[in-house]
Subunit: 382 residues, 2 copies
């Protein structure tokens, strides 16, 4: 690619340093229109399998047109229904079949044009077709730009839980064009914003302060402001992932809000009532509440987090989920004990000592967890 | 484990040197009876998922009993029907579900007790449950001991081809007990022997000579003789895999006999008429024939290979397949062009300059391939 051109447009570049699996994330405006510049391989003569969903198919067709003009020997788009239900065995098998029917080869490339669902599905398919082929991510949601673009997690859901089947597989490159966010529903922008807040909360108090001042600009998608937030988020995540690629230790911090959040998502059944980022937003408030109950952080910290998320228009309580969630404390506990992060039923929580300092704990008494759950979800309305 | 004990029983140890993914293969007699000695982790408190098939379930139950006595927190066996058809999406999903239903955790372990089919399936399931958990191989066929125990290839078949879906995933340890081969049907011993011959043919002429003298002892399963052959085979494969873990170059040599062999297997439909090793045996003779037609090796080399394989009782021609194979030159070519090793329809062949010296070639004229196919499979009898 042409380095000068990229610098002229002030594209930010984050390197995810993972030895021979290192790759770069390009962040900026107008990147999609010259997508070929960012491909770390010759497009000519290559077979390219683009995976997308019904919401962002137009971007995928744009990518297809450009790579077709650059003489890819095969270049087509497979479009899945938008939504979490697409992360299934059925979609995986359909994707494998599509590639095999179209003579996928070991030097073929899978390109994901979509949010986290498409990225996770396409990445998993790329990692498992012919024991792994190259994979490029073009995240089209704020959540995917700041979260799934770093870390190499791929996977699908099963009836027994979210992301239970998958692999660690690094992309060859990630291209995060903030312009594509303009067609994203406001609700999805906010859901992505919750993960941005998370990076401040787990280890960067100054970034959280910056968000308190500039969060509105991020959510209003002012290009320089959102690009800065994506850049800091990716850098924060990259630094943590570099230390702990396979999630043995410190990487667990990235799960702030996720133990409660995943359980809420599972209880909601991925039917669109609750986006992942919304679940994380509620989950972070619950994690701070649990932290306060354990005597870790202050009541002011809990309020500060709840206030900022609420001010931005994010859910901070399961009671905001509509139609209302029908679950119970027992059901939530059961779901959390099945979580990948649980060990022999012992749940792991990411807790906060204050805003900007998170820790991992696996010794939280069940009754404290139950009392936080009772406060937030109340008695079952099932 | 107790090093003295192992040395006292003259167990051979092959290290597969792959950096942080390095592991050891223990080869010897009586290993299954003290399986706990070889586990590179504490069994106590761990959840252990043993995968096996109907032919060798008794060995799996033996392993289960021992690990249960060592206080595994969960230890059970899931038994699949013996045979290639078990390498399917259905089995993979069944295995995932079984693990999830039984609270699989990130430090749980999958143990494969079986041949290549069980190893490939269990390894793939281990690599994809919770993005990868530990995996132990206890190969119970000669083929699995000399072939799938080194290299980390896992996978399943799809209707569009063999091993098209899978991953590279290294086991934590491999325990190859030659005693278990005593219950293996003679036909399967011979099929495994074909892969042993392959290691001689691709790079070790002295080993091929040793096999010409001692092949009968290997196939009669004389413990020291078969252990020596397994040891040399694993060392040869380990040296090649070390250089080329993801099969970019030299590792392709291990595919001698496999381009033709896989095509024969696909045409036979994995119905039991043709074992993988039998297909490789025929495929190696066809590869030598093609080599001779290209002016690479001599007619004597072709005869020497064919004679040794034939003398051991292995198939050297598709005409020995019963009931007879109904295929055609065109069908075989079409299958080979879909092979993972093919690129845009260009087939890759491993050819021989002589016994013990193989090379990779992707420029073999189609008409020469067709003429070898015509000689070996004749006109379609479909």
């Amino acid at each position: 690619m042409n380095e000068n051109e990229i610098h002229a447009m002030d594209t930010k570049v984050v390197t995810v340093p993972l030895g021979e699996r290192s790759y770069e994330i390009f962040i900026g405006s107008g990147l999609l229109g010259r997508i070929g510049d960012f491909m770390p391989f010759d497009v000519a003569g290559r077979r390219i399998f683009i995976v997308s969903d019904t919401h962002v198919e137009l971007y995928a067709q744009n990518v297809k047109r450009q790579l077709h003009e650059q003489d890819a020997s095969f270049c087509d788009v497979l479009v899945f229904p938008a939504g979490e239900k697409t992360k299934s065995y059925e979609s995986l098998i359909r994707l494998h079949e599509w590639m095999l029917e179209n003579n996928v080869h070991r030097d073929s490339v899978v390109i994901a044009v979509g949010g986290g669902v498409i990225g996770d599905l396409a990445g998993f398919a790329a990692s498992t077709i012919m024991r792994g082929i190259e994979y490029v991510q073009i995240p089209t949601t704020l959540l995917a730009q700041v979260d799934s673009s770093v870390g190499g997690k791929t996977g699908i859901n099963t009836p027994l839980g979210k992301n239970m089947v998958g692999s660690f597989y690094q992309p060859s490159v990630v291209v995060a064009d903030v312009d594509v966010l303009k067609t994203l529903p406001r609700r999805e922008v906010l859901a992505g914003y919750a993960e941005i807040v998370k990076y401040g909360l787990i280890g960067n108090p100054r970034f959280f302060e910056w968000l308190e001042d500039n969060g509105q600009g991020v959510c209003d998608l002012i290009p320089e402001v959102v690009a800065y937030a994506v850049d800091v988020s990716c850098r924060t995540k990259a630094a943590i992932v570099q230390e702990d690629e396979r999630e043995a230790g410190r990487r667990a911090l990235l799960n702030l809000g996720h133990t409660f959040g995943h359980a809420l998502e599972t209880a909601a059944g991925y039917d669109g009532r609750l986006l992942h980022g919304e679940a994380v937003s509620i989950g972070m408030v619950m994690a701070f509440e649990l932290s306060e109950n354990l005597g870790l952080c202050s009541r002011e910290d809990v309020s500060r987090v709840e206030d900022h998320l609420g001010a931005m228009g994010l859910m901070t309580n399961p009671s905001s989920i509509a139609p209302g969630l029908s679950t119970s404390v027992d059901e939530m506990i059961a779901i959390m004990q099945r979580d990948k992060k649980a060990k022999d039923g012992k749940m792991t929580f990411i807790l906060a000592e204050t805003v900007g300092r998170a820790i991992v704990r696996s010794d939280v008494p069940d009754d404290l967890v139950r009392s936080v759950l009772a406060k937030f979800i109340g008695v079952s309305v099932a």
